[in-house]
Symmetry: C2
Amino acid sequence: MSTSSNSPYHHGNLRQALLEAGLIILEKQGEAGLGLRDLARAVGVSPAAPYRHFDSRAALLEALAVTGFQRFSARMEAVAATRPDNPMAAMGKTYVVFALQNANLFRLMFSPQLKKDARPGLAMASSAAFDTLRHVVGGDVGAGRIKALAAWAKVHGLAVLLLDGQIALRAGEDTEALIGEIISSL
Amino acid sequence: MSTSSNSPYHHGNLRQALLEAGLIILEKQGEAGLGLRDLARAVGVSPAAPYRHFDSRAALLEALAVTGFQRFSARMEAVAATRPDNPMAAMGKTYVVFALQNANLFRLMFSPQLKKDARPGLAMASSAAFDTLRHVVGGDVGAGRIKALAAWAKVHGLAVLLLDGQIALRAGEDTEALIGEIISSL
């Protein structure tokens, strides 16, 4: 790999550095604050440099969402690997906590703007992210599929209601404890 | 009530006409297309006229959300009044269908932008909207509250996943039938 004359990054490293900086900007400022020029400034390269890796802002957002699904998958696999007594509850809690810890990334991953149909890389990352969950719940057809969709709806709804400030915590109440209680209750 | 010299509306009628036009613009163009001037043009009054009823765009959005919660309440009460065999399932389906039929209004009702804490009228309308659901699920404290939050999370999650195009329908599959199956399955 060659080093660009005006960049301190090797080719592959720059892509990774752009994604890391992008994730930080996304969480701090929201999707609106995220442009390829801002990103170039953040990692200290020329304004044109990010275009070697992402041909548009949409391509950058897609790559960030893919990264999000990969991290989400890794968390799900890690939880399943601990062989919890109640895998559904453990994975459900992990889902909601991931959403709260990565609010803007989570919103981006499930944004209707990102057309999964038109973007095979994103569709694959998103589908792979749910493999572990699907495996635990019981498949992709018939009653298994309905059960998986119901489980998904529950944890996704809880994540969204908490993210959007719709569930009011009682005085002294701990968010993670409440998440655990709600997920165990159905 | 007096009629304004430059308006075909009685005072109370103009407020109602502005809200009706606002709901139509909201569904057609989304929240971004909704300004007090657009609204004045839509109902055929002077640009200043809407300010007699809403002192800002935020006040208009709040009034639209309140209207949304009132319509939502009426639907929930109507379903409960039919004494369905499974009230939770019937109300859950009504919740999701309301969201799909009033997509932008539903998003507005649960938007984190609208600060319910700071707006007593909105907080009251929103709380009243859930009275019927709370009554069926079993209360507002202890295990009843947790059960109510879990039921809410499930139907809200299903609504959001469908609105955001995250759940792919199979060929020939009917959305309402799928909603019914998912809600019955947990």
